[in-house]
């Protein structure tokens, strides 16, 4: 009668912890823990270290070069990396387009793209949202017209995270206008260096350049870069979003943030002059955050286990996305409030984090859209 998902894998955790301690570069660690802005090379240096160890794709099957770890192991790995101050693994290749190519791509696409995702040679970005297609993603209008063995792509994507670093973009494009909007969408892989692709920065509310507009003007894309069948892209897109949402829980990161908040509360004076840690009101707030984090952690394990059982993410990922993003926001908010007006001088990382993470309840399908998904697919409305 062992409770399946709470069995700690001590040997695995020790192994991961020792590896991370031995290989994570000290300056990179400090940069992450200080909340500094990471450059492309920061992400890639850690990516290459994990790749060399064979640990870059915890959720991939072994046949494609992944670890095929159990949900508990994936959870431990993410937690140890986050607590140690390692940069997160960029999700665009490993968590998003990789699983789509594995499930729906051709053998040629698998051989061409998957090894380069693993090695870090290709940085991917996500071409989903458009100025007129946010929550209503299926109304997207970026067109791809077939001309012989090429598609000609015209249109605009937006909110494209770290497109300025990207070698490739996976795009939802319109290949048909008849029928339901969902029925004319295709999933296309586009080389960012192709003539006619332009990236324009969007500066976010925290003053940083994290997201972009990506413009396509008569961009020629080989038909061989179409994933699966033409006009079936919506199915692939939803599959990808499920994977993305499961990854949005961010349990390890939340643990680090909570530990930072607790450390801050122990020396930050509260309203009666004593440390916030001794202020009953503030303690209750931290206690609630910690309880919500415990809840998120168990939810995460339950959803990962379901996903592994079904070999596909389900609508439960939407619950995880809501809970994870709300907790991330609550942590950043409480941390900023702990600083009081000390949070005002800008830029400073903890304030930047609060501002930056307003995005969390909007991206990957706003939390209102997640509630629609839950209502439709889990409650039968």
């Amino acid at each position: 009668m062992q409770p399946g998902f709470f069995v700690e894998d001590t040997a695995f955790r020790t192994n991961v912890r020792e590896f991370v301690r031995a290989t994570l570069p000290v300056d990179l660690r400090h940069k992450v823990l200080a909340g500094g802005r990471l450059e492309k090379e920061d992400y890639l240096s850690w990516h290459r270290i994990l790749f060399a160890q064979g640990w870059i794709a915890p959720n991939w099957p072994r046949v494609f070069g992944g670890c095929e770890w159990s949900p508990v192991q994936q959870h431990i790995f993410e937690e140890e990396c986050a607590l140690a101050g390692a940069p997160g693994i960029m999700p665009f290749g490993i968590r998003m387009v990789g699983p789509v190519i594995m499930k729906f791509g051709s053998a040629a696409q698998q051989q061409r793209f998957l090894p380069r995702i693993l090695s870090g040679e290709d940085w991917w970005c996500q071409g989903y949202s458009e100025p007129g297609a946010g929550s209503d993603l299926a109304s997207l209008r970026t067109r791809a017209e077939r001309r012989g063995d090429h598609y000609i792509v015209n249109g605009q994507k937006t909110w494209t995270t770290l497109a300025q670093f990207a070698d490739w973009i996976f795009c939802l494009v319109r290949t048909a206008t008849s029928g339901r909007p969902q029925e004319g969408i295709s999933f296309l892989l586009i080389d960012m260096r192709t003539k006619g692709v332009t990236v324009r920065p969007i500066i976010m509310l925290d003053g940083e350049h994290e997201i972009n507009e990506v413009w396509f003007e008569d961009v020629e894309v080989p038909a061989a870069n179409l994933v699966g069948e033409e006009n079936k892209g919506w199915t692939y897109a939803k599959y990808l979003l499920g994977h993305e949402r499961t990854g949005n829980a961010g349990v390890g990161q939340c643990k680090r943030w909570l530990a930072e908040l607790k450390a801050l509360a122990q020396h930050q004076p509260g309203n009666d002059g004593r440390p916030l840690a001794d202020d009953a009101r503030f303690r209750d707030r931290i206690a609630r955050l910690e309880i919500d984090l415990m809840t998120l952690e168990v939810m995460n394990l339950r959803v990962l286990a379901l996903e592994q059982e079904r070999h596909a993410p389900g609508p439960e990922a939407s619950m995880l996305k809501i809970m994870g993003s709300e907790l991330q926001q609550a942590l950043t908010e409480t941390t900023m409030q702990a600083l009081g007006h000390g949070a005002a001088p800008y830029p400073q990382p903890l304030t930047g984090r609060y501002l930056n993470f307003r995005k969390a309840t909007i991206y990957a399908g706003s939390n209102e859209i997640q509630r629609n998904i839950i209502a439709r697919h889990m409650l039968g409305f």
Partner: protein, 376 residues
Amino acid sequence: MYSFTGEQQQFRDSLQRLLREDYPFDRRRGIARSASGWSVETWRQLAEVGALALSLPEAHGGFGGGAMDTFLVMEECGRALLLEPYLSTIVLGAGTVARAGNEAQRAAILPAVGRGERQLALAHYEPGSRYALDAIACEARRDGAGWVLSGAKSWALNGATADQLIVSARTAKGPSLFLVDRTAAGVGVRDYPMYDARRAADLQLDRVHVAPDALLGEEGEAVPCVAAIIDTAIAALCAEAVGAMAILLETTGQYLKTRKQFGTPIGSFQVLQHRMADMLLETEAARSMALLAASRMAGAPPGERSRIVSAAKVRVAEAARHVGQQAVQLHGGVGVTDELPVSHYFRRLTLIEMAFGDVDYHLGRFGRHLFDTQPQ
């Protein structure tokens, strides 16, 4: 997700079938109005399917089940809104005897409990103690080889129908536990219904004489023992709440799909769909913490056990309040009537929210060690 063993699933299915077929809501309504407030017949059926013996030690006629097995039973109790004294007799009563009792006490009591022939109740709280576990004013004085107990006890669940009461009283060595026959001379019982239709009792002990072997466990060791048992009971109540919330979610969903206003089922309105999505989120959050608490009940050191139980109680209580209130709200006018089950589930969830410590109590208990333990 946690997967129960095939054996556990079979047991759950048979219990679910039994309660669905033999414990419809109309029957429950009649049972609630009966003199004892629970059904001897249902209790016998629970004994027959092995639910009563499930968590008792194998050496004393039980199946040696753990907290996860209790989780299964309690979740079904929650779904059926069962009135029978499972929590008081099995979790609190038999749990205390199994934990603190000597071999003779265990052998005398537990097999009879497992067969459904004996009922127990824990009488620990006192007037004015609120949720504190160490505020024991009740006294036990030596009387030759035996003891004489005097004092007042409050909120003893199903205390009026128990054959034996487990009473905490202070000796020279501190709070200790005693087995007291409910019908012993000097035991005054005031039975009352609670707002969830269950029963509890306040007790007056007026120079109640008990034999030397009435002492349950070590003298002076009542508080850590009761604390452990109440943690177990809280974990069990969390599971019960999850079962009750699941039913509210189902029935509210069905109601929204059939109730028409403005010419359309009200479930077509997005504002109501989002309320339902939030109720599901709350229920699954509660389930997660209830599972965590149950899975950590065995083997964890007391401090860690209490920390996790308090976390679970906070999260489950808040979910129970949210889901219960929203279920009533979404039912509209019929939600506030006695006629529909929804208000009865709401009342039970409200009581669970306050039982064995409310949110503030457990937030405080959890927060006490916030800065001296690392998050798990």
